[in-house]
């Protein structure tokens, strides 16, 4: 029996080549993980929100309501996919797919553990940011194609916000890259052997977390979908699983930015004892918990205030921080 498996494995290896196989298996695992992660995060969000708000959150389906999200997912799947008549059909249908595709790619380079990484690319960090940038294009497409004024306003806001907040995000990540001397995520984690970068680069860490919250459209920066102003923002016209894909992408994005934060600033898979992926996951979910906490505590910023925050404060601070890091490193080395 075992023989057959190992022979089949050998045949596959010969056919695809080892790297391609790892990639395929890795992506399948990643896709599965994305679903489970989203299910868990939605449950976590509702549960945490419930407890913050004097409620208890979901509790009926499964122990502590953990299966609630699955039931909701089934409901979403069974809903009719409505395409508004004046909408631009092709773009409207493509948008949720395009929003979801790029969130899978970063899983290729995320270092969950020392040997738990699909591929360690030497431009890993760039890859993540490049694909994170695609997200906004799909949102603009969806908002535009819906032919709805609220959706358009949401999409326009989203573009302005993402463009503004990607800059401090990248700049703060660059400070870390300079310190680690590499864009490879594994190398960045290795560079934090002694001291996590959050202690060396506290400003960059704060900037990154603020930028990441804005990048994932989370409160208090949830301007593109501000429900009290724009009904539901760019996804006003989306129903069923098309809406579900936006939702899935949002929660996966949360996971990705938290993973990148863990890698860049919190020592990745390293912990005080027993290094391993469990430390990585613990840190990621702790960060996400923080983001959820913030969401349910603060009111929403106004659009122009959000822009001011990015262009007048975050970007200059990030630039100064980057220059200072470069200068000090030049002097020390």
């Amino acid at each position: 029996m075992l023989n057959i498996f190992s022979e089949a494995w050998q045949a596959l290896l010969n056919f695809f080549g080892p790297l391609a196989l790892v990639l395929v298996v890795g992506l399948v695992v990643a896709l599965t993980y994305v679903q489970i992660n989203a299910l868990f995060l939605v449950w976590l969000e509702r549960k945490v929100a419930g407890h913050i708000q004097l409620r208890i959150g979901p509790k009926e389906v499964g122990p502590f309501g953990v299966l609630q999200t699955i039931v909701d997912g089934v409901k979403l799947l069974s809903k009719e996919l409505i395409t508004p008549r004046p909408a631009s059909w092709l773009l409207f249908v493509l948008s949720p797919i395009l929003v979801f595709m790029p969130v899978l790619v970063p899983f290729v380079v995320l270092p969950f553990g020392e040997n738990l990484q699909i591929r360690d690319l030497n431009v890993g960090l760039m890859l993540i940011f490049a694909f994170a940038g695609l997200n906004v294009l799909a949102i603009l497409m969806g908002g535009w194609a819906s032919n709805n004024k609220y959706a358009l306003l949401g999409a326009v806001r989203s573009v302005a916000q993402n463009v503004a907040y990607e800059i401090p995000l990248l700049l703060s990540a660059m400070s870390v890259v300079i310190m680690a001397n590499s864009l490879s995520l594994r190398a960045i984690v290795e560079a934090q052997q002694g001291l996590w970068f959050v202690f060396v680069q506290p400003v960059a860490a704060v900037l990154y977390l603020v930028g990441a919250t804005a990048e994932t459209n989370r409160a208090p920066f949830d301007i593109p979908e501000a429900e009290s102003e724009l009904v539901a923002g760019f996804h006003t016209e989306y129903s069923g699983m098309r809406f579900g894909l936006f939702f899935l992408a949002e929660y996966t994005n949360m996971f990705i930015v938290a993973s990148v934060a863990t890698t860049l600033f919190f020592g990745g898979w390293r912990g005080p004892i027993a290094d391993g992926p469990w430390w990585f996951l613990a840190k990621v979910y702790l960060l996400i918990f923080g983001v959820i906490w913030v969401r349910w505590t603060f009111p929403r910023l106004r659009f122009d205030q959000l822009m001011n925050l990015a262009w007048k404060y975050l970007i200059p601070i990030a630039l100064v921080n980057l220059l200072a890091t470069a200068l000090i490193l030049k002097l020390v080395r």
Binding site: L54, R55, S228, E229, W296, P299, R300, R302, F303
Partner: protein, 374 residues
């Protein structure tokens, strides 16, 4: 109604009647230049039920349940005002105990109304959590009012010449416990919301109303007091047993006050604290005695003539104008409700602000649309 002109870059946005922030069925026609508002026109009438006409078709007694359906968030105050108006028209006075009971319930209702406003306003600004806290507090009030009146939202508890039932034995203790709880909560709200930088940025300097504008547009209630005009009918034209009670009229600083959203917020929060004081004092002062005036007819029939009565409801000046021909059915009953005037200033405030400010300004005026439409 705004006409479509395609000569410039502006476009029209129809906000409502189904929109999460218009609270009910208000429709706003906005002309936008990007996100900036050029023009605004509120459209009303989606919740018109013809209460005033209903009043002309049935007797005073049978109209009793209607007033609390006009402003369903401060139903007891409308009920109270209606009874006071009838009593004044007929020259009847309710016993002291009944007056105190009514006043306590009305003030509790005012707190409930302001609490709901507080929650809904923060919801408009994107903070979801305060909404549920406010509802938790409001739930206590509804339980207390339910205990004494038997209903939770639309009350017909006050009667011509008294109240329907006496206080239950549990009432004073429940109310005192609630007062202590809400005082602690108000302190929490102060630290969590009033001092929150995002909240301050969203409300300070937004939608300012000058004193002259407030007078011109006949604003009333907290909206007027936030402009620095300390006009409160409970003090200016006291009815019931308000003169016996010691409380402050909450206004903003006369010099610094510019009547913006933040001032309106502070005034309402201050009024809640004052109402708590009123209820606490009234609970001490409440005398024993009958709860219904003796020898008043079941069906009131004011002598011929016209009568006018004003009352400070949670949202401002509530005024009832009655024309009677001596029968049990009114010839005309006109209700002047505060939200109509409070809404009428909106087209003045909005131009030049952003879409997000629309929500902040609209919410800060504390409108109840069915009360405008009636």
């Amino acid at each position: 109604m705004l006409r479509k002109t395609l000569t410039d870059d502006t476009f029209y946005l129809n906000m409502g009647p189904q929109h999460p922030s218009t609270h009910g069925v208000l429709r706003l026609l906005l002309r936008l230049d990007g996100e900036r508002i050029v023009e605004c026109e509120p459209v009303l009438g989606y919740s018109h039920r013809g209460h005033e006409h209903m009043a002309q078709t049935k007797s005073y007694l049978r109209f009793m349940p209607n007033p609390s359906r006009m402003d369903y968030l401060a139903g007891l105050m409308y009920n109270h005002a209606y009874c006071l108006a009838l009593e004044r028209a007929c020259g009847v006075e309710a016993p002291r105990r009944a007056q105190y009971i009514r006043l306590i319930c009305a003030e509790l209702n005012r707190i409930a109304s302001h609490l709901l406003w507080f929650g809904a306003y923060l919801l408009d600004l994107g903070g979801f959590t305060p909404f549920l806290y406010a509802f938790d507090d409001r739930e206590d009030i509804l339980a207390i009012l339910g205990e004494v009146t038997g209903s939770r939202l639309t009350y017909s508890y006050c009667r011509f010449g008294g109240v329907a039932r006496d206080l239950t034995p549990a009432f004073p203790q429940m109310t005192r416990a609630f007062i202590a709880k809400l005082r602690a909560r108000l302190a929490d709200y102060d630290t969590l919301v009033s001092k929150n930088i995002i909240f301050i940025n969203r409300t300070k300097g937004i939608g300012p109303i000058s004193r002259e504008q407030a007078r011109d547009y006949a604003l009333s209630g907290p909206n007027l007091r936030a402009c620095g005009i300390g006009h409160d009918l409970r003090r200016v034209e006291p009815c019931s047993v308000y003169p016996d009670l010691d409380f402050q009229t909450v206004t903003t600083n006369q010099d610094a006050g510019i009547g913006d959203c933040y001032d309106r917020y502070l005034v309402r929060m201050g009024e809640m604290a004052q109402s708590l004081d009123i209820v606490e004092q009234a609970l001490e002062l409440i005398p024993e005695g009958p709860i219904r005036a003796k020898g008043v007819p079941q069906e009131p029939a004011p002598p011929p003539g016209d009568y006018q009565f004003s009352y400070e409801s949670a949202r401002g000046l509530l005024s009832i104008y009655l024309v009677s021909d001596g029968s049990r059915v009114p010839v005309r009953m006109k209700w002047r409700t505060p939200s109509f005037s409070n809404l009428s200033i909106l087209p003045l405030l909005l131009p030049g602000t952003l879409v997000a400010d629309t929500v902040a300004i609209l919410g800060s005026l504390d409108l109840v649309i069915p009360e405008i439409d009636r």
